[in-house]
């Protein structure tokens, strides 16, 4: 039996104070993004291209269009923003920087509000700097985690460590590999741990160096380095970042390639930010 007031599990309802916080977060974010030269885009809820993004296709809510083509509800904004901005708007608009404020929808009934941005032909630093500015505007300072998905990919492709072990972080089995530097690689945690990279083979060293240069450029605390972190989005191909506090993931982003176009993007998870703002407000009472 479904009650009259019942809403599906994991769908979102905001009212009163929480709705006001949501509106405030979105308003402050859109003002900042516009001031940084981003154009706003709102993409359809229905999409033909979501299956390219997800390793786990069971997250997608699928239906069919009038020609019986599979359509999915938007579970990730990035592929559609990039394709629409390049294929459709590219002819008439010059903007390379797009932001969106819209929810994503996952199976069976999960909603997640996001504020995201894509910098076409942009780089990692730009996406990360915008994300840090956004969270600072929202007066939030979570842990920033820097990673590089090429490192787990290289461990798999060249050093025989299964990607399944790396994705599920089976530490004992990863450390059991006969690589003289693997223990050191797993243990890297702070920028100081990147001071001497000479023990690593050149390919791994080169990817660690990218993290190091990014970490040195930043003036942000708390900052952690996680070379083995595997971001489970198919299109990421180099540096990635994650910002979290406790168990709450507040933001994520990275460099990626979609349709041979190099770009960088980010997403702020609005629902987690709202929950955190409410918690902080209550603690400050």
């Amino acid at each position: 039996m479904i009650f009259e007031h019942e809403i599906p599990s994991d769908s979102k309802l905001y009212f009163g104070k929480s709705a006001k916080i949501k509106r405030d977060i979105e308003s402050r974010s859109s003002q900042l993004l516009e001031s940084l030269g981003f154009e706003e885009i709102v993409t359809p809820v229905f999409s033909y291209h979501q299956h390219d993004s997800f390793e786990n296709q069971s997250q997608l809510i699928k239906l069919n269009d009038d020609h019986n083509h599979t359509v999915t509800l938007r579970a990730d904004s990035t592929p559609d923003v990039v394709r629409i901005a390049t294929k459709r708007l590219g002819r008439s608009m010059e903007s390379k920087k797009w932001f969106y404020i819209q929810p994503t929808l996952n199976f069976p009934t999960q909603e997640q509000y996001q504020i995201g941005g894509e910098v076409l032909q942009g780089n990692f630093s730009e996406a990360l700097d915008v994300t840090i500015s956004l969270l600072q505007t929202l007066e939030l300072q979570p842990i920033l985690q820097l990673a590089n998905i090429r490192i787990p990919q290289l461990l798999n492709e060249k050093y025989g460590i299964s990607l399944e072990l790396l994705k599920s972080m089976q530490i004992e089995k990863i450390l059991a590999n006969d690589l003289p530097w693997i223990e050191r690689l797993v243990a890297i945690h702070t920028i100081d741990d990147l001071s001497d990279l000479n023990m690593f083979p050149d390919d791994i060293k080169q990817e660690l160096l990218k993290i190091k240069l990014e970490a040195q450029r930043l003036d942000y605390e708390p900052l952690i380095i996680s070379p083995l972190f595997y971001a489970k989005m198919r299109y990421y191909d180099s540096l990635t970042f994650k910002m979290f506090s406790g168990n709450a993931l507040l933001a994520m982003g990275g460099e990626y390639v979609i349709d041979d176009l190099k770009a960088a993007g980010f997403a702020i998870y609005t629902d987690e930010c709202i929950a955190m703002k409410i918690r902080i407000n209550e603690e400050n009472k």
């Binding site: 842990i143 985690q145 972080m169 004992e172 797993v186 243990a187 952690i224 406790g246 168990n247 993931l249």
Partner: protein
């Protein structure tokens, strides 16, 4: 401080014995208390199946729980170490006089472990009807509720006493040290430090 969820009973006691060896002091829950704080650790005494939930939701940084429970719940956690405690098998049990009939279009299985069962039979491309039970699984084939069961087998005594035998082993299981994803990255030095110490005891290399 690291918070560690332990499953009530023998595995909790054996894990606390390992901590006692490492820190050369006695770690033990007082009577019915559910929280123990000592040496910079907070231990939570929780039900076995709830350990991964406490860890995945961040209420605990670390947990100790059977690989069967981890596999069954399919949660996104870091699998740190096989602690080689509570070794057992997940197996298909049938009545002594029966044989598992793979030619049947649909096998009826009673179990607590719905996902492990479905995945195992799916790999064999055999249709399965899973009946979820919460206890006394061995009863199901005896009263015609199911053709077979999927359950934990330690010594096999419970199955034998109820006229059942192991038809096939699905997986080996033992208690694993697991970590919350964010905790692992945020508290990596502390977590890898305790990982090293526990591994030395598990490998029998504690000085």
């Amino acid at each position: 401080m690291l918070t560690i969820a332990l499953p009530k009973g023998r595995i909790a006691e054996e894990t606390l014995d390992i901590f006692s060896k490492i820190f050369n002091t006695n770690f033990a829950f007082d009577n019915r208390k559910l929280i123990l704080e000592a040496h910079g650790f907070r231990f939570l005494n929780v039900r076995n199946q709830d350990v991964p939930t406490y860890v995945a939701h961040g209420a605990a940084d670390l947990g100790v729980v059977g690989l069967d429970v981890i596999t069954e719940q399919e949660l996104d956690i870091v699998d740190l170490l096989d602690m080689q405690l509570g070794c057992c098998k997940v197996a298909i049990g049938i009545k002594n006089e029966d044989a598992l009939d793979w030619s049947k279009p649909d096998i009826k299985i009673a179990t607590k472990m719905v996902n492990i069962t479905k995945n195992y039979f799916a790999q064999k491309a055999v249709g399965v009807q899973v009946i979820k039970l919460y206890g006394s699984i061995e009863l199901a084939p005896l009263v015609g509720l199911a053709d077979a069961i999927v359950d934990i087998v330690d010594t096999g005594a419970t199955m034998r006493e109820n006229g059942l035998k192991v038809a096939e082993e699905i997986m080996s299981s033992s208690a694993h040290l697991i970590a919350n994803n964010n905790s692992f990255y945020a508290k990596k030095s502390d977590i890898l430090s305790i990982y090293d110490k526990i591994k030395k005891v598990v490998d029998g290399n504690l000085p």
